[in-house]
Point group: C2
Chain length 373, copies 2
């Protein structure tokens, strides 16, 4: 079997072909199912690890592996380099996914994960909000208006009838362009540049995703909010990087996506163990009594879970296969004798391209670009 490479070009072609709303709906549905069915005996998710460095620029590159027993291993690589947009015309968050067969170790796919990471982070917030925010939520607040804010709002509009969007960013240009960047999906909602104070006072649901510096949090001091406010805390992703003020966390019901991870790099690092609620999937799987959290102040501490990446990877691969998108390459899998690493050299002078050899390497002709055109 060949390895499928889904590039940015392929990912964008899938979004164009399927439609960004339908894709988000499908992802929310699949992710909700994944949360409801998650079984740690079948799915191994070690705590992520990574390299962080301050030279030549501050950055972080993490690996997030997952084993779905008998099916796949997914390795997500994700980079966080906050100077990228300004200095390199690149997104802050870059990512790719490698998918392996868990019977043979064969590399089945390499998928550009940059859009998919923003997509799944949005979908996770939509699921948390469906579970924890009031069903009639109308006002959504965004603190931080970068790339993640776009998919946060998009996902929320698929689950709620959003009528007002209040948003703030410390960078005026980023705030100024936010409405424009949301045009591909937002219908009738009113966009209102707001202060953080107004956002906290008015919103039914808030998603916060900033690039606040390590050690510089929280992003704002505690202020009054709606009693039923639900917050998706998205930007905490590093030890000593957090966004929310401790008093607000202490009077909220806080549910992390992955507790051990959130205690290291999420909002939960501010909290004592006894102040942290169950993980979102556990709440969703609970069959017994659950208090009505929709009327309470709630925080979803979203540090990013590779289970979400697995769901979005499989969704896009399914569409790519159906649409015939992607580039197919041979990766270590094509051999007449797996014990003979140089078998392809047989019958040839190793120093020049003989006709025989040209034939034996002509499989490059089978590495065709599949595409819509």
């Amino acid at each position: 079997m060949k390895t499928t490479v889904l590039s940015q070009t392929d990912i964008q072609a899938i979004v164009v072909e399927i439609g960004v709303d339908r894709l988000m709906d499908e992802l929310i549905a699949r992710l909700e199912e994944a949360f409801q069915n998650f079984d740690p005996r079948q799915t191994a998710v070690p705590v992520r690890d990574g390299f962080s460095y301050s030279s030549p620029r501050s950055g972080l590159l993490e690996w997030m592996p997952l084993l779905q027993t008998g099916e796949h291993v997914l390795m997500k690589m994700v980079g966080y380099h906050p100077r990228n947009p300004d200095l390199s015309a690149l997104p802050t968050i870059l990512s790719d996914f490698s998918l392996y067969n868990a019977t043979t170790g064969q590399l089945e796919a390499v998928v550009d994960g940059t859009l998919l990471t923003a997509f799944r982070t949005g979908a996770a917030s939509a699921i948390a909000s469906r579970f924890l925010a009031r069903t009639d939520s109308r006002v959504v607040g965004l603190i931080g208006c970068g790339a993640q804010a776009v998919t946060q709002l998009h996902a929320l509009t698929r689950v709620f009838d959003v009528q007002r969007v209040c948003f703030f960013d410390t960078d005026f240009a980023t705030m100024d362009s936010f409405e424009q960047r949301c045009r591909p999906f937002v219908g009738e909602a009113n966009f209102e540049m707001s202060s953080i104070l107004d956002i906290l006072e008015l919103s039914d649901i808030i998603s916060i995703a900033t690039t606040i510096d390590i050690g510089a949090g929280p992003v704002f001091d505690d202020v009054p909010t709606q009693e039923h406010l639900h917050i998706n805390a998205v930007g905490s992703d590093f030890p000593n990087k957090f966004e929310l003020p401790l008093p607000l966390l202490k009077r909220s019901f806080v549910t992390p996506d992955v507790r051990v991870q959130a205690e290291i790099e999420g909002e939960c690092q501010q909290l004592a163990s006894s102040d942290i609620g169950e993980e979102l999937y556990q709440l969703m799987q609970r069959s017994g009594f659950l208090p009505n959290l929709k009327q309470c102040l709630t925080v979803f501490d979203s540090t990013g879970w590779v289970l979400e990446d697995y769901a979005v990877t499989m969704l896009f691969l399914d569409h790519a296969r159906r649409l015939g998108l992607g580039t197919e390459v041979w990766m270590g899998t094509q051999s007449s004798d797996p014990k003979s690493p140089y078998v392809f050299l047989e019958g040839s002078e190793a120093t020049e391209l003989s006709p025989t050899l040209a034939g034996s390497t002509a499989s490059s002709a089978t590495e065709k670009k599949r595409g819509l055109s």
Copy 2:
């Protein structure tokens, strides 16, 4: 910048174009330099981690990250699935490398690592043997004659004037085909199917790389050897998997590639800490007195070091660039606005391919297959 994908086809084309001997010579030279210059303050190499499973088949998939500060992050993925050759016509060891820019996190290359892993493991043994075996070594023994044995022998022939090759495998077909599989590189050496006893008695250098089961080691009991024998112990790569008998280890000078890793999954797991010598790179970097280890019984405990993978990746990428080989794809890096994940949808209906949009995704035309033809 685009991401370069080097498939198996590209790797083979490089070997054909450059020649397998010259490539091995270049790798040995680069790797020797990498060992001599290795500085743990510049190069971070966390202990590898992985998933091991017994269902549906026994297997292991590991990740081996490396940070070369200011230059690259390399993520090596390597699978060990001993039933692959028999049940899936795939190599036991499959691997791929992902190379990232350590300033932006951008994915620069994805490289098929299966041949490269065998290649660098051979080169590492050649370097250890040059340092620890007698310069006039003529007799090389191979215990286990799978894919790794081929590159072990190849690398040793580039450093020593090998005249006799004694080899053994528990699987007769594997033993029977070994000489044939070495034809692309071996000149005048005599190949002799041998018993393990004979190999141990006769050899100046031995490389052992078997698929002995976990808990079933050692592969043989201690027997007499040449006083100056050097052993490259390649097959130990899992807790409770080891190949050499403890008494032989105890009377040898044992140098691991990576001590902490070798203590977990190499021959060193059999040894007390005080029985383990310095790491090979430390020996090579030592400027003060070093006893003449070439006359002693020595063991290189080669568990596989990602520094080796970094060297071989860069070597093949350099050749690929010069030869114009590889497939180039855009991975998350091409955006007129990095804060706008849906920017490519602008000016279009998201549900159909408008002419504008077809234009904006037509960059797929730039994802061309580069090749020799």
